[in-house]
């Protein structure tokens, strides 16, 4: 990797800064407390499919492993338990083994915001209000243009995951929630299924057949109620097979991921152990589990909803940039 400076992006960068300022002014007016958090941690919440960056603290003979946080969640949830109230973090997060692409950097800017006493439906409205605030501040209207697509931010196009699979992949609800039937269907569609799990094929079909349509009908699209296996840390729905998670898209770009936060500490502990096992099985860096996080949850995480938004991508969409690099003065790639 090398360091690249691109001073000709100065104007695009200035527009990106407008997005950052717009986000912060919205959150300030809506009384979210800004959190200044570390990016290094001695332990993490295990996530089966994410690789982390590992480093070391050194002093005299002392050696201690530290990890760059792939998300500020472990810090914020502690603070929610302690009673911090509505809050957000806007800063860097780190994901290893994910090479640079037009829409992703291994070190990226993330907004994570939490609202106490509310669920994911409330957050959907809050996010739409934030998008409108950004668009009005920057463009003076609710209409944006992104890479040739006209998008009105006046309302969501909303559909459940089951509806999206039905509409775009002709996969019925019955097939979607039945592992065996789903894999069979994937095989019939010509996907390589041997040696791959339900989750693998689900992600592949989702990316191949569904995502290209999202946020492309002149509105931002919100997809909600994911199968439980794809929403480990969110509140299960009464139907027993989906959980309260949503993602939202503009112009085919995934921008954010929201949960009604799971408050049951025992269920939480089980899911973390599952994730830990998955990490071990796939040979990922063996970092310590943040047990303090689980202990804090036992004290009682208040009912709340949280969303993580990729701010580099949000910047792209709000300023009509073709990729992340074109808004940056300096990148490593």
């Amino acid at each position: 990797m090398k360091i690249h400076t691109t001073i000709k992006n100065r104007e695009a960068y200035a527009q990106y800064l407008q997005v950052l300022r717009g986000v912060e002014s919205f959150l300030l007016t809506h009384r979210y407390l800004k959190l200044d958090l570390p990016v290094l941690s001695p332990a993490l919440i295990p996530e089966g499919y994410l690789e982390v960056f590992e480093t070391e603290f050194r002093y005299m003979d002392r050696r201690e492993k530290l990890y760059l946080t792939p998300s500020p969640e472990l810090f914020i949830k502690r603070l929610l338990v302690a009673g911090v109230g509505d809050c957000y973090y806007l800063g860097k997060s780190f994901r290893n083994s994910e090479p640079n692409s037009p829409k992703h950097l291994p070190e990226f800017t993330m907004l994570e915001m939490y609202k106490v006493g509310k669920d994911y439906r409330y957050m959907a409205q809050e996010v739409l209000a934030m998008l409108q605030h950004l668009s009005r501040t920057i463009h003076g209207t609710d209409q944006i243009m992104f890479q040739g697509h006209k998008v009105s931010l006046a309302s969501w196009e909303a559909m459940t995951i089951a509806e999206a699979f039905e509409r775009y992949s002709a996969i019925s609800t019955e097939e979607l929630f039945d592992t065996e039937k789903f894999i069979k269907k994937a095989y019939q569609k010509g996907y390589v299924t041997e040696g791959f799990s339900y989750e693998d094929l689900w992600s592949q079909i989702y990316a191949q057949e569904i995502e290209p349509h999202l946020g492309m009908n002149g509105k931002p699209t919100i997809l909600f109620d994911y199968p439980v296996t794809f929403a480990a840390l969110s509140t299960p729905n009464p139907d027993g097979r989906t959980a309260q998670r949503f993602e939202f898209y503009i112009g085919g770009v995934e921008l954010g991921n929201c949960y009604s936060e799971l408050t049951d500490p025992e269920l939480q502990a089980t899911r973390l152990r599952d994730e830990y096992e998955l990490r071990k099985k796939s040979g990922k860096i063996d970092h310590p589990i943040d047990t303090g996080f689980v202990d804090a949850l036992r004290e009682g995480l208040p009912e709340s909803t949280g969303i993580a938004i990729g701010v580099d991508r949000l910047g792209m969409v709000m300023t009509d940039a073709p990729d992340i690099d074109s808004m940056k003065l300096l990148t490593i790639r």
Partner: protein, 188 residues
């Protein structure tokens, strides 16, 4: 031969659904759950048709063994670019759809590398840069030389490129044929 999809590179030839395709673009994407993915754009070498396909990054993909053969570019017509093998003097035809837009920067008589599989030419390796003479461009008006202003210029192959205002007719410039961008003056 096979390769993990996560290692797919632009320009590589692969087998997908019993056909030979050339990778036009491949982009890593991790949805955070389930397999990491490789979003790709691939072009069928027989039909010239391009499709988007998302592979799992740890999926094994059969690759096609191609050799890059030095050939002389002869000329093109409406559908085909013609090349001649430097040693055997055999003529090879590559559909313009497979050569792509870079063909507008090819100068007759220049040496290129053609990808060949089983005696069949599949595509042309894009040269990193080409040197072409400017045959037409207007002189910049005085006082019009601030900033990064550009003007249009026609090069000897007939292609149009945007060049800095100080470039004059008759000069030889270097161009990145893949982006069509001016990259500098050719050193004399």
């Amino acid at each position: 031969m096979s390769v993990q999809a996560g290692n797919l590179k632009k320009g590589e030839f692969i087998i997908y659904q019993n056909d030979v395709w050339q990778v036009q673009k491949s982009e890593f994407y991790s949805p955070g759950k389930g397999a990491a993915l490789m979003r790709s754009k691939i072009k069928n070498v027989n039909s010239g048709k391009t499709i988007d396909y998302t592979f799992k990054s740890n999926e094994s993909i059969e690759t096609v063994d191609v050799s890059s053969v030095e050939m002389q570019y002869l000329y093109k017509d409406a559908e085909t670019a013609y090349f001649m093998h430097q040693q055997t003097f055999n003529q090879y035809e590559v559909p313009l759809e497979m050569v792509g837009d870079i063909v507008q920067f090819f100068k007759e008589g220049e040496t290129m590398y053609v990808y060949v599989h089983d005696e069949k030419p599949l595509s042309v390796m894009p040269p990193a840069s080409v040197q072409l003479k400017i045959i037409q461009t207007d002189d910049a008006a005085r006082g019009d030389t601030v900033g990064n202003a550009k003007k249009e210029a026609e090069v000897e192959t007939g292609a149009k490129v945007m060049v800095p205002l100080f470039i004059k007719q008759g000069e030889i410039i270097t161009i990145n044929p893949e982006t069509g961008e001016y990259t500098g003056r050719a050193s004399q």
